[in-house]
Point group: C2
Chain length 477, copies 2
């Protein structure tokens, strides 16, 4: 590990904002992934100038810098695999300017997604990406991962909303990327290169974000299916039929059982549930969309269909899906729910086939996997549920991952739809996308020649995710 001069960093950010106290370091040793590694120092800058000074110091001394938002990343993005400086961006949390007249907002990277949406509400606008962790996730972290969520089927991902970025590069220089306008053709679209680059190309210190007018009406529907396959096919048909759902979610039987156990919701324990929503400013149009989706669900043997425009009712209908992630660990005594192989994307026509395949692979390899997610945009979430104390279960997980991603890539899918590659997903992704790794490395080297920005992630991550870092579970036998 590199020696880091904490006293020098304290001079830059103030003594209360730099620490090498082991208790603090431990708190920053993990994120929502299975990985764990200790940094040497944690710094919490408050200004762009402080970020620049930290980067100049780190670049000169070849010290890794790992930028970090709320630490909700599922693949190890924020885990300091080589030690170094973890840069917590959460104190740069100001909404700098809300400009409804220009249909944009300027924010610091530490602003929490839900806080931004609360601030936009009185203006009649919203910021659509909506990852499940929006209650704590920061805009900077969402940019790093190209995050998206339940609204991606209609509204797309973070990349579609980033108009401009201020970025501090590895050498401490500050660049203003992008524009204040809806479209631009003024040089390389560098702001979109930074989105999804997982902190490996620069530190985002400000974002100019396109906002969207809030729709007046939202209608949420839910349909039960005895067969997961029928639900998958209904989703595929909704998308190709020209519907414009503002949400189109799948939840399989395992997920239903888990939320019933955890939350006592009394959901009917069927093969799958679809949640479908339409939004708009005219009720007739929302009715049209929601009824079209309802009819497609019925044609695929959907039953017990409920529809509601009411905010409270919608909240109730959605509550199971909302808390699914937290509930999954309750599915069975002694197992935990790991963020492994957790967010593949598949082409729309493959939803049903992929869902069935995931269950089949899991069963054959002695783990449990729930299938759910924003399937309207091809996003399939899974969790590998296993007994973390048993060493063999981690081997089972490794086999599942390999087999599963071989299948996903064979049907034209992607390793990660919205969480990113980090450490956990690097091995299957590197296998599938070997052709683009030299191009990514060339760009990385051009912008960060000393390899200090979140090193050994993505294309440079270790080939064995299990051994990449310590696991944050105690593996006994």
């Amino acid at each position: 590990m590199k020696k880091v001069d904490v006293e020098n960093l304290k001079k830059i950010v103030g003594s209360e904002n730099a620490t090498d106290n082991p208790v603090d370091l431990y708190a920053y040793s993990g994120d929502a992934s299975v990985h764990q590694a200790m940094p040497n120092v944690v710094v919490r800058p408050k200004t762009i100038e402080q970020v620049q000074k930290i980067m100049r110091y780190a670049n000169k001394n070849r010290i890794p810098v790992i930028p970090r938002g709320a630490g909700t990343g599922t693949s190890g993005h924020a885990v300091p695999i080589d030690g170094g400086i973890v840069m917590d961006m959460k104190q740069m949390n100001h909404i700098l300017e809300i400009k409804p007249g220009d249909v944009l907002v300027r924010v610091e990277p530490g602003v929490v997604d839900d806080d931004l949406n609360r601030a936009l509400l009185p203006y009649g606008f919203f910021y659509p990406p909506a990852p499940a962790s929006s209650r704590i996730a920061t805009i900077g972290g969402e940019i790093a991962a190209n995050a998206s969520g339940v609204r991606s089927v209609k509204y797309g991902a973070t990349r579609d909303y980033i108009l401009g970025l201020k970025v501090v590069l590895a050498d401490g220089s500050l660049v203003n990327l992008g524009a204040n306008t809806r479209v631009h053709s003024s040089g390389y679209q560098l702001e979109r290169l930074i989105v999804g680059s997982e902190g490996t190309l620069g530190i985002v210190v400000e974002a100019t974000i396109r906002i969207y007018p809030l729709p007046k009406f939202r209608c949420l529907g839910v349909a039960n299916f005895n067969k997961l396959e029928d639900a998958g096919n209904a989703i595929s048909e909704i998308i190709t039929s020209g519907c414009q759902p503002s949400m189109l979610e799948l939840m399989d039987g395992i997920g239903i059982v888990a939320v019933n156990k955890a939350l006592d919701l009394g959901l009917k324990e069927v093969g799958a549930i679809i949640l479908f929503e339409a939004d708009g400013n005219v009720k007739e149009a929302v009715d049209f969309e929601i009824n079209k989706m309802k009819e497609i669900c019925k044609a695929h043997n959907g039953f017990g269909i409920e529809l509601s425009y009411d905010a409270e009712e919608r909240k109730r209908i959605f509550s199971g899906r909302k808390k699914l992630f937290a509930a999954l660990s309750r599915y069975k005594e002694g197992i935990i729910c790991t963020d492994l192989a957790d967010d593949m994307g598949v082409p729309n026509s493959k939803i049903a086939e992929a869902a069935a395949k995931i269950h089949e692979i899991a069963k054959r390899n002695n783990v449990i996997m729930a299938v759910y997610g924003h399937c309207g945009s091809g996003v399939i979430h899974t969790k590998i549920m296993l007994d973390p104390k048993k060493k063999d279960q981690w081997k089972d997980a490794d086999k599942v991952i390999e087999e599963l991603y071989d299948y996903i890539h064979s049907v034209g899918g992607v390793t990660s739809a919205e969480h990113g590659i980090g450490l956990s997903k690097a091995p299957p992704w590197k296998k599938a996308r070997a052709d683009i790794i030299p191009m990514m490395r060339a760009i990385k080297k051009a912008l960060d020649p000393n390899n200090i920005l979140n090193p050994h992630k993505l294309m440079d991550a270790p080939d064995d995710w299990v051994k990449a870092t310590d696991l944050r579970y105690r593996v006994v036998k």
Copy 2:
């Protein structure tokens, strides 16, 4: 100029597809810009393998390669400033696969935009970017420029539709960028880096494109305004009020006079016209949107408002705007219409102010400038109309460009909204965006170390656009 071995290129593409005949070379010496320069050889590959072989030959021998679609670029992208090989991609014009089930299409780069939309029509889908030149512009050229058009206000630009790209890099290697899915977080978003890179980073040889369901209803409105300022303010308010126009176009009095002269349309010669459109699958929703826009126009002194759902009527209402570019040269005897300072973007709140400023700057500098464009997405098109035979008029144009862009950049606007930088727009863009040029050059050098891909464009273009190449007009005095 580099010596190019045309016989070797004939071996790669066949003798009918490589030429150094001066007549052919002359035909490829210009595009829709003011610039002109002769290539050494023109090649017209038909396959990815041919493109790879040409690039390997060119890279080994340090010969510039300038990829070219239909040559509709307005800023000199396709003009071979250093000679070399112009690579005409128009023979790679196959629609490879239409997959409505996956809501995407795979095409070769030489496919013409309108041809793609004609092919998608029976499936009920369309490809939205719609630049004005869609009748001849190719998808590859649109990718190079990040093209957009009348629908950008609702549907965005080319960058928003490119899911994946096959690209041949400078060294002849082939990379598969992006995904087949609506969203992805699987490595750098390199497909979006390529969009808008003006042929300087690689040759696009295949594109996977997201398609969009065709709306059932479209309603077009037109409103007259005595004052250009009122029209500009109406547009700004339509956008901030939460309307979702599928088109929101401005045309000033100069444009109206020009189309009346050229086409005898008998339009009322007022200060400005706004064209506004709404689309959707439910007539009530389209009515709601169009009436909201109509009321905003009225509140800003708009009059003579017409609305129509009828396709033929919409065609008639739009005909003046459709042919405006061609008509502008008829505005006054002896003048021509140049593609200079032709597509700035401004923040939504600055439309009226920018339109007035453009007229003021033009008048003070002895040229005529029409103001029009997709102002709903902040795109202001202008043309500098001048007497090309007079040397002083080119000096006047140069002064206008400098003054105009100083203003545009001072209000947070961009040099180019949808045409690109190329040669003509490089001087003001380089002045405004000096901070990002080192980052662009680092990426360019990493991917094209021998600087053979469309060299001396964008960040590497000459500082004086007038002297960058010959002008394609005969300047007498």
